[in-house]
Symmetry: C2
Subunit: 378 residues, 2 copies
C-alpha cells in the first residue's frame, strides 16, 4: 500500500512570529529539545519502571513530581495527558452519572466535554457579559447557593484564566465560597500554570489542572493534576487486582517524550513565572498602543492581567469591506511581515498574545499593525 | 526554587542491544525523528485546526487516518493516547456501571484497569495454563455462553498477542463466536498492530486498539482505535453543545509530537509488517539455539508466532546459586556485552525480543548467552 504525503514539516514557528495564544506557552526551550532527542523512542521513560510511572527514578520522575508539587503548592501531583484529561479524571472520581456540578460561564469547551462524557449536569455561573465578561465571585456564590438548595453539588469548576478573554478570576474568593459550602473546587489552570504563579493551597482549591503543551513549554500531549492530600484516596485509588496501579490513571499516563520535555522545561518554567510582571507590561503596552491607533478595542477585564488579549477591530473590518482581497487582507499583510496566528479571513475581532516575545518583537508587531492600518485605511 | 537534576539522558537504546520486548517496536525510524524535530513544540499539530483533529489537513492528519484505516481494514479510525485509553473509551461508550464483559485470561493489566475504571465486572476465559498458556476459541465460547445465560454480555475483549507469553490468538474464530452470540468484540492489538498484519474486517472484530509507542515506531503516548462503521455513532458521538466535538475523544486526543511521529512512521510500519515472516524466523532461531544450550525452555505456544518470547532458564538460576554476584551475574554479564533489557537480578525466567535486530545482532545475542553459560556453568 502507498501512503500519501502528509506534509510533516512545520516551518510556521521557525520562520514567523506567531500571535496564536494557544502556541505561545508551548515553545520548547533548548533543554526540552534535547529531552525530545533523548526520549524520542516509544516507551522511553519506562526503562527502569517498577510498576509506577510516578516512582520512576531514571529519569527522575519521582523528584520531578516532588519539585512540581512544590512549585504549585499541592500535596500530590500526577501527570495526565492534558488539562481536559485531568478534569475528566477529577469528575470521574468524584461524581456519578446524573450528578450536578457548577462551572463558570467562561469555561473551556473541554470542561463541558469532560462533564458530558461523565454524564453530569452543568449549572453555569454567568459572566457579566459584554464587554468585560467577568466572572464575579458574588455571582459564583449566588448560583452555588441556589443550586445547593435543590441538589447536592458534587464539584465546582472555575477557569483560572479563560481562553476567550484572558480574564484572570478571583480564585481565592471563589475557593473561600466553595469551602464554606463544602463543595470541592477544581481550578482549571490550563492558561495560568507555567505562565503565572499558581499555588493550590494558598488559593484554597482542592484540585488544579495544568496543560504542559499550552503553558508549560512541553510537547503535547501532557498535563498536570495537583490535589490536596485529602483527595488522594479518592483520585489515586488503587486497583484491587493490580495493587500498584492507580485506576484513574489507567496504571500510567504519559509514557514517553512529552513527559521528558515537561521535566526538562521545569527550571525554565519556574524562572519565567518569576518574570510574569514583565509579560503583563508587554501585554499592556500592546493593548494601549493598538487602542491608540483607533478602531481597536480590548475586550475582557481591564487592565489586562494575562497575555491573552481579545480585540474588537472595526478598523480592519472597515478596510476589508472595500479591500480587493476582502477579509483576507489582514492575514496576508501580516504574513508578508512574517507575523502569523490570526485566522485567515477574520477581521472583526481576534485573539492574540505576545507571550515570550522580546521587547523588540513586540514593537515590531505593534509597528506592523500600525503600518497595515496606515497603508489601508480609507 | 531549585529543581533537582532529573537525569534526562537515555543512552540505553543508543549504546546497547535492548532485549526488552516493550521497547523493540517503538524505536523511531529517521522520518519520525525528523517529525519530532518539526513538531516538538506544544500544540504543534493544531496550527490549521478548524475544530477537529481528525480533519486537520496541515499536516495531513485526515489523509493519514484514511491510510491507517486502509492499513488495518477498519471503517473509521481515531488516534487515542494508547491502547489502554482506546479500551477505556470503547468500554465507556458501550457499557454502564455494573455491566459484565468477558476477557481472556492473558489480558494485559490495562484491560483490567479500563474495566475497573468503568465499574465493570470481568468474567475471564482461562488459558490452558502451564506451559502453553493458550487461549482456545472453544474455551472462549464456553465462558461466553455460560455468562450469557446469566447476564447480558456487553463486550468481549480478546488480547491478540499477550505481553506475557507472546501467544497469538485465533481472533477470527473468537470473532465468529462473538458475532454468532451478538456480542461485540474488541481486539487488543497493542503487541500486533504495526508488527504483523491486522485486518479488522477480515478478522471480523468490531473494534481494534493499537499502541503507537509499543508497536508502531512512534513516540509515546499514542494509540490507535479502529472500528466498524456501525459503531461510529456510539463511539464517536458528538457533543450536544459543541457540535463538532466527539465526546469520548474529549474533543481531541493526541495534540502534538507523538501524532507527528506516528504519521511519519506509517510508511516504515507498512513496509516492516510485510516482512513479518522474517521476524518470526529470527525469533524461532533464537528459541532453537537457546534451547539447544540446555536448561532453557520456551514457555507459551510452540512454534513461536510472535517476537516476544518467554524463557524458563533453570541454567541461569543454577549458576546464580553459587555465583559470587548471585542473581545479578546474568544482568552484569549481558551488560558487559552491551546487551540490556533483562531485569537486574532475574535468573529463573525472562521475557525478551530480538524484533527489528539484524541477523548479525541476533547471532551476537545468541553467542553471548552461550558464552555466559559456558563461562559460568558449574
Ligand atoms: C481554559 C482552557 N482550558 C483547557 C484547555 C485545554 O487544554 P488541554 O489541551 O491541555 O486539554 C484549553 C485549551 O485551549 C483552555 O484554553
Ligand atoms: C497486550 C498489551 N496491551 C496493552 C498494553 C498497553 O499499551 P498502551 O501503553 O498503549 O496503553 C500493553 C503494554 O505492555 C500490552 O502488552
Amino acid at each position: 500500500m502507498e501512503c500519501a504525503d502528509y506534509g510533516i514539516t512545520r516551518a510556521l514557528e521557525r520562520d514567523n512570529l506567531n500571535l496564536n495564544p494557544l502556541q505561545r506557552g508551548g515553545v520548547l526551550p533548548a533543554a526540552a529539545r534535547k529531552a525530545l532527542y533523548e526520549f524520542g523512542d516509544g516507551y522511553s521513560v519506562c526503562d527502569y519502571c517498577a510498576g509506577r510511572l510516578d516512582q520512576v527514578t531514571r529519569p527522575a520522575v519521582n523528584s520531578f513530581l516532588d519539585d512540581l508539587a512544590d512549585f504549585i503548592d499541592a500535596d500530590a501531583v500526577r501527570t495526565v495527558h492534558g488539562a481536559r484529561e485531568g478534569k475528566f479524571a477529577v469528575m470521574h472520581a468524584l461524581c456519578e452519572a446524573g450528578d450536578t456540578i457548577v462551572a463558570d460561564g467562561n469555561a473551556h469547551y473541554t470542561t463541558h466535554l469532560a462533564a458530558e462524557r461523565n454524564n453530569l449536569e452543568i449549572v453555569e455561573v454567568p459572566s457579566t457579559g459584554y464587554p468585560d465578561y467577568e466572572i464575579k465571585p458574588e455571582a459564583y456564590r449566588e448560583v452555588l447557593e441556589d443550586v445547593a438548595d435543590r441538589v447536592d453539588v458534587k464539584l465546582a469548576v472555575l477557569t483560572h484564566v479563560d481562553g476567550n478573554y484572558g480574564n484572570l478570576t478571583d480564585a481565592e474568593e471563589v475557593a473561600r465560597i466553595c469551602r464554606k459550602m463544602g463543595v470541592p473546587l477544581l481550578l482549571n489552570c490550563a492558561y495560568s500554570m507555567g505562565r503565572l504563579p499558581v499555588k493550590l493551597r494558598e488559593i484554597g482549591a482542592d484540585f488544579v489542572v495544568g496543560s504542559g503543551h499550552k503553558s508549560m513549554a512541553a510537547s503535547g500531549p501532557i498535563g498536570v493534576l495537583g490535589m490536596r492530600s485529602e483527595w488522594e484516596d479518592t483520585l489515586l485509588r488503587r486497583s484491587g487486582r493490580h495493587e500498584k496501579k492507580e485506576i484513574e490513571m489507567l496504571g500510567c499516563t504519559s509514557r514517553g517524550a512529552p513527559l521528558a520535555t515537561l521535566m526538562a522545561s521545569l527550571p525554565h518554567v519556574v524562572e519565567r513565572v518569576s518574570r510574569w510582571d514583565d509579560e503583563i507590561k508587554k501585554t499592556r503596552k500592546l493593548v494601549s498602543e493598538l487602542e491608540e491607533m483607533g478602531g481597536i478595542r480590548q475586550i475582557g477585564k481591564r487592565p489586562k492581567e494575562h497575555d491573552l488579549v481579545r480585540f474588537e477591530t472595526p478598523v480592519f473590518h472597515d478596510i476589508a469591506s472595500s479591500h480587493p482581497r476582502k477579509g483576507f487582507f489582514l492575514y496576508e499583510e501580516l504574513k508578508k511581515r512574517r507575523i502569523v496566528g490570526i485566522r485567515r479571513g477574520q477581521t472583526k475581532w481576534f485573539k492574540c498574545s505576545v507571550y515570550g516575545m522580546t521587547d523588540g518583537q513586540v514593537q515590531y508587531v505593534i509597528d506592523s499593525f500600525r503600518e497595515i492600518i496606515e497603508k489601508n485605511r480609507n
